[in-house]
Amino acid sequence: MTQLQTVENLVGRGNTEGADLFRAWFTELEQTAATGGHAAYVFVMGSMAEILRTFEIPMVFPEINSLQTAIRRVAHQFLNEAEDYGYSPDICGYVKADVALQLRQGDHPMGKVPRPTVAVLTNACNTYVKWAEIWERMYQIPCFVLDVPGTRDIRSQSHPGDPSFENDRLYVEAQIKELINLCEQLTGRKFDIDRLREVLGHANRMNKAWQRVIDLNRTQPSVFNALTDGTIYLGVSNSFRGSSEGSRYFERLQEEMEYKSSQRIGTLTNEQYRLVFVGVPCYPIFRRFNEFFTEWNGTFVNSTYLWFASGGANRAFEYDLTRPLASLSEGTLLSVRDAMDSMFHQDRAVLEIAETFNIDGVVFHPIKSCRTVSTGLADGRRALMSARDIPSLFIESDMMDRRVVSEAQLKNRIDAFFEGLASRRLQQSAKS
C-alpha cells in the first residue's frame, strides 16, 4: 500500500464512518417508530446503555436530537413551537426542542423519532428529572432515575477499595438490579448475564480506544479538533456504546489517529495556537464558531465536553467481565461522578489538560440555556488564572438559541483574544 493510498484510506475516515453510523442509528430509530417497538429515552451522562443494549431496547438521546436541530439550523422553529405552547425562553433549549419534537409526533429533520416506552436517567444534570417528568405526563411511561452519589468533598474523593466508595457502589448496584427488573417487565425477556458480559466487552474496547484517541491529541500538530471532530466521535460514543459497531469504530478511529500522529498530519496545516474548550459548543453557528478560531490557526486540542458528554467514557474504565454487575456499578459510579466533576470542578480538569497538552489558551463558553454547566465557569477561570499563567477567553452564547448568539460580538472578542496571544508570543520570543 502506498503512502498516498494510506492517507486517502485513513485520514478523515473517522468523520465519514461516524456520519454513516449516525445515519444508520437514525434509520433504526425510524424502524422502531414505524413498528411501535420499545424505545428508551436516555441521556449522555449515564445512559445505562450496557443494560438497555443487553435487552435490545433501542435508545433515543433527546440531547443529541435537540442539538441536531441547531446544527441543521432549524432549532428556532422547535424553540418557538415550545414557547408558543407555554415554555419560557429561559428554559433549557434542549428540553424545549424535544417538547416541540414530541408535539410534532417525533418528526425530526433526520427522520422519525419513536415515542418513549421508558425513560432512564441519572442525577448528573438537575434538568434530567424535570425533563423526564414531561414524558411521564405526556405518555404515562415509567421513569427510572438512577441516583449516583457525587463527589462529596473535592479535597478527599473516595476511591475503589474505600469503605465509603463501596457503600456508594452497592447503592448503585442495587439500583441497577431494579433497572434490570424493570427491563424484564417491559420486554418480557429474562436478563442474560452472558449477553451483558458481551456488551461490557464491547464497551471496554470502545473506552480504551477513546482514551487513546484523546491522548493522541497531545501530538503537535493535533490530530483532531476537539470541538468539531470531537462532537462526531461523541455521537458514536453515546449511541453505539456496548455494540460491536461502536467498538470497531473507535478502534478504527484510533488507527487513523495513530497514523496521523506518526505522520504529523494535523487538523490544521499551520497550527499556531492550541486551545482548550470549556463548556458546551455553540451549535446554532457550529461551523462558523470554529472558523473564528481556525482563521487564526487556532485549534481545540481538548475540551471538558469530551469528558462529560461521553458520560465519563474518557476514563477508560475497564469492566471486569468475571463480576459484571459489580463492575458495571463501579464503572457507572466512577464515570458519572467524573462527568459531574468535569462540569462542576472543571478547573481541575483544565489544569490537568494544561499540564500535558501544551496549550496556549483556554476558551470558557458559558451558555444561556444551561446554568448547570455555566454557573461555575467564572470560578473555574479564576482558579485557572491563579494557578497558571494561561490566557483565557470568556465568551457567552448558546447551544440552541440563535437569538442570543451574536456573531459580531463573538468575533470581536475572539479576534482581540488572538491579538493578545500573538502579542504575548512576540514578547516571549523577544525575551528568549
Binding site: E396, A408, Q409, E419, G420, A422, S423
Partner: protein
Amino acid sequence: MTFTSGIDIGSTYSKAVIMDEHFQMAGKALVRTGFRLAEAALQAQTAALVDAGLDGKQIEYTIATGFGRHQIQFADITATDITASARGCAFLFPETRTVLDVGGQTMKASLLDEVQHVKSFRLNDKCAAGTGAFLEKTARYMGFDTNEIGPLAATSKEPVPISGVCAVFAESEVINHLSQGHAPSDIMHGAILSLVDRSIQLMKRVRMEAEYTLIGGILRYETMGRVLREQMSSPVNIPDPDVVQFVSALGAALLAQQRLSKLRAGEIREHAHEQ
C-alpha cells in the same frame, strides 16, 4: 514623508486619522457610519486626506479597526478596537493601565501591561445597555438632539435616579419621570450617572489599575468625565474633546506606522491581522 492611516468603523461614527512618520496627527475626519460601511470608510478617509492636505496615493499603509473593519477593502490589515484603543491611549498617556472606551453601541474596558499591550478586556453584554445609544435615546425621547446632551446635563440641579440602562426601555422610564415633573436636565444627568456606574463596574472586572484613560464618543460630554472622576476618586486622563472620539483610529494609524517600519526593515512579514 511617510503617511499612514487608521480607520475606525464604529457602530455610530466612522473616524479616520492620518499620521506622519514623526507620529504627528496630520489630519482627521468623522462621518456617520450608516449602513454602507465601506462607503463611510472611504468618506472618512477622503475627508481626513483633505484635512491633511494630502492625496490618497501618499498613504502607504492603512489599518482598519472597529466593528466594520472587515468591510474596508482598501485597508492593508485589520486590528480589533481593543488593540487599537490601547495603543492610542498609551500614545497619548504613556502611563495608562486601564482604558475605558464608551461608544455608540459598545462599552469596553481593557487592562494594559507594562509594555502597553492588552492584558485583559471586558465588553458590554449583547445589547446596547450602558452605551451611547442609551443616552441618545433618552435625549431623543425628551425632544433633544445628541449634541444637546452635554449642555442639558450641565444645567442639572438634582439628578433623577435611573434604574435601568436598557436603550429600549429608557422611553418608558423617561416618560414616567417626566410625568412626575422632573426636569429633562435632571433626567439626562441621572442617565449619565447610571452609565457611569456601569462603566466603573466594567473596569472593576478587568481589575482596574491607575492610570485610567477614558475615551469614546460619550466622553465628549463633560458631565460624563466629571462624574467618572468624582466616583472613582482618582485622577483620570481624558483626551481633548476634539480627539476623544479618534483614539482608536489614532492607535490604528500608529500601529500602521510601526508595522510599516518593521515591514521595511524585514522584521516581519505581511499578515492578515495585527500582532
